[in-house]
Symmetry: C2
């Protein structure tokens, strides 16, 4: 059995399912349990948003159709923070860095009076923010560099296993959006290769993206610091240096995508101004059917509501205007998502 063909058949059933609200279709078809069970996006409410996703996938996978895309070109890139998991009230990676400052503080008594470390130790987020990019880079340098890549992986893995989000009282890796997990799986079932293209640290994400998202390390693109190859106790290691190597945000996203993937995605998924250029790179001025999607955080009750005025995950009107011009799908989280998290 050809798995791609098989799933293409599933898609057509899905499309029928989403069209089942049309009065022309019989009540018998509409209520067939087998059809309902085949829905690969059960956490998405029926409507234009969900239909746009299914329509795109059906078109590019239809063998012999005018919009068919060969499997090797079915590349989809996803932002991480705010697109696949929660980014409020601060990026998870910043929470990690601040916790690391606390863990490392006994070895650095001078931090008690030195900014931005004193502010970080006091939990004074306003003062941390006031230290600006310079302060943030200082915090990142001491918490993210000065160890081998293997040691850093161990540190992040142990932290993620014990750290808890303050609002939801759960591990951060549970604060992933159930509808997006279904979307990732749906795309892969239709022959897509799914990538992350995040402003976050590439090595902060890789230890857990395969388990949580089904995205292996080699399909994770992110910001990075420089490393140095050296032998330690007879074994080769990569030592993490306090120097920025690459910032995978805004115009950096197409550059990082090109460096890692080497061809343009045909679909891209983001949630903020930082994803604009990635969405343009995937969809504008390119041949064939393309798909762009922006997750708009509109649900203060179940998650968060934010947009143009947010420091984290800022989504300006100009980016929403670009979405309208380029016919990108904008997810209204409150209306389009039946569930936000798997534990809802």
């Amino acid at each position: 059995m050809n798995p791609i063909k098989h799933f293409a058949n599933v898609d057509r059933r899905v499309l029928l399912s989403s069209l089942a609200m049309l009065p022309l279709l019989s009540a018998t078809l509409r209520s067939t349990p087998a059809v309902a069970q085949s829905d690969p996006l059960p956490s998405w409410n029926e409507g234009a948003t969900k239909a746009s996703i299914v329509n795109f996938v059906v078109r590019v996978t239809a063998q012999g159709g005018p919009d068919f895309v060969p499997v090797n070109q079915r590349i989809a890139t996803f932002d991480n923070d705010g697109t696949l998991w929660v980014e409020q009230p601060m990026y998870v990676q910043l929470a990690f860095a601040l916790d690391r400052v606390k863990v490392m503080a006994p070895m650095h008594p001078e931090w008690k009076t030195k900014q931005p470390f004193a502010a970080a130790l006091d939990g004074d987020m306003k003062a941390v923010a006031a230290s600006g990019e310079k302060g943030l880079v200082e915090i990142l340098a001491v918490t993210h560099a000065g160890m081998t890549t293997a040691e850093f992986e161990k540190i992040t893995t142990e932290w993620l296993a014990t750290a808890r989000d303050h609002r939801f009282k759960r591990p951060y890796t549970e604060l992933v959006y159930q509808p997006m997990l279904e979307l990732l799986a749906y795309l892969r079932a239709n022959g897509f290769k799914t990538f992350i293209a995040s402003g976050g640290g590439i090595e902060f994400m890789r230890p857990w993206t395969e388990r949580i998202y089904g995205i292996p390390p080699e399909q994770v693109i992110g910001s990075s610091i420089k490393t140095r190859f050296e032998f330690k106790d007879g074994a080769p290691t990569l030592f993490r240096l306090p120097d920025i190597n690459f910032v995978d945000d805004k115009a950096g996203k197409p550059i990082g995508i090109n460096e890692h993937i080497g061809r343009r995605p045909i679909a891209a998924f983001g949630n903020s101004d930082g994803d604009l250029e990635m969405l343009q790179w995937a969809t504008v001025g390119a041949s064939g059917v393309r798909f762009g999607l922006i997750v708009h955080h509109t649900d203060a009750v179940r998650e968060y509501a934010y947009g143009p005025d947010s420091h984290v995950g800022k989504l300006s009107q100009s980016t929403l205007d670009a979405a309208a011009v380029n016919k990108w799908t904008v997810v209204n989280m409150k209306n389009d998502w039946k569930r936000i998290f798997s534990f809802d």
Copy 2:
């Protein structure tokens, strides 16, 4: 049918086939045509080299065996120049650059008297070499930068379609080693993901690696120059800048592999001193069975014979010593390869 399991079964037959020379096995088994036909490495002569490859693959794919490696960790990295295709008498990419200088010369009359361009136009390779790294960088800057990534792909693709190697009178993409093509396919059939990790330009390789090697662009790692995201005629482009971004050679190979793959390969394949650190990164001080292989060019009749004294693809005694210490397989091209090229 589980394809992995299926191919693991094939491997066991292959192993039996390679052991068939043992007198203990019956003449009947030895001459069974079905067994002979299943050999996935027909261009490799029987012997210790071929057996080491098959032994490694059988061990890491044996479900329940002590050396079993899950599919997602079966990562293999290959050098390109001199490992997968011919690198003598000069790297193919340098031949491309010199041809480009000739094509571009009418727009640059000043090159007639300016080194290293004058030497390149005269075909004076000694003078080009005498211009050193500085001269080479100048040639690379004018031939590899100053256009979009899409334009560069078009230029390289057109050149490869028409350029011919002077000795073999064939397109460079035919000068790939048939035994290595079989090895790539054999590894993939056993669940490996195969990557290129080359000192050559990442965007010089990507347009053809999928067609020639079965390695898609997202599994190609190489040296790169910086790019700039910008709109041109209403479409987003990446403009290639004359600035080095990354040199994927020697200690750069583990760094590039970590940046692109995010985990250590369990097998690595090279041919020169430039591959030493990649081989170490894949095999030294790591848990589980690992495999390293060096292609030693020993066949001046069918290809080239070179090693410690060669400028291109230098293979020092110290690297061969490292191979002995770390139990890497060293391919003696003359003895181990039944055929070099598909047209042999």
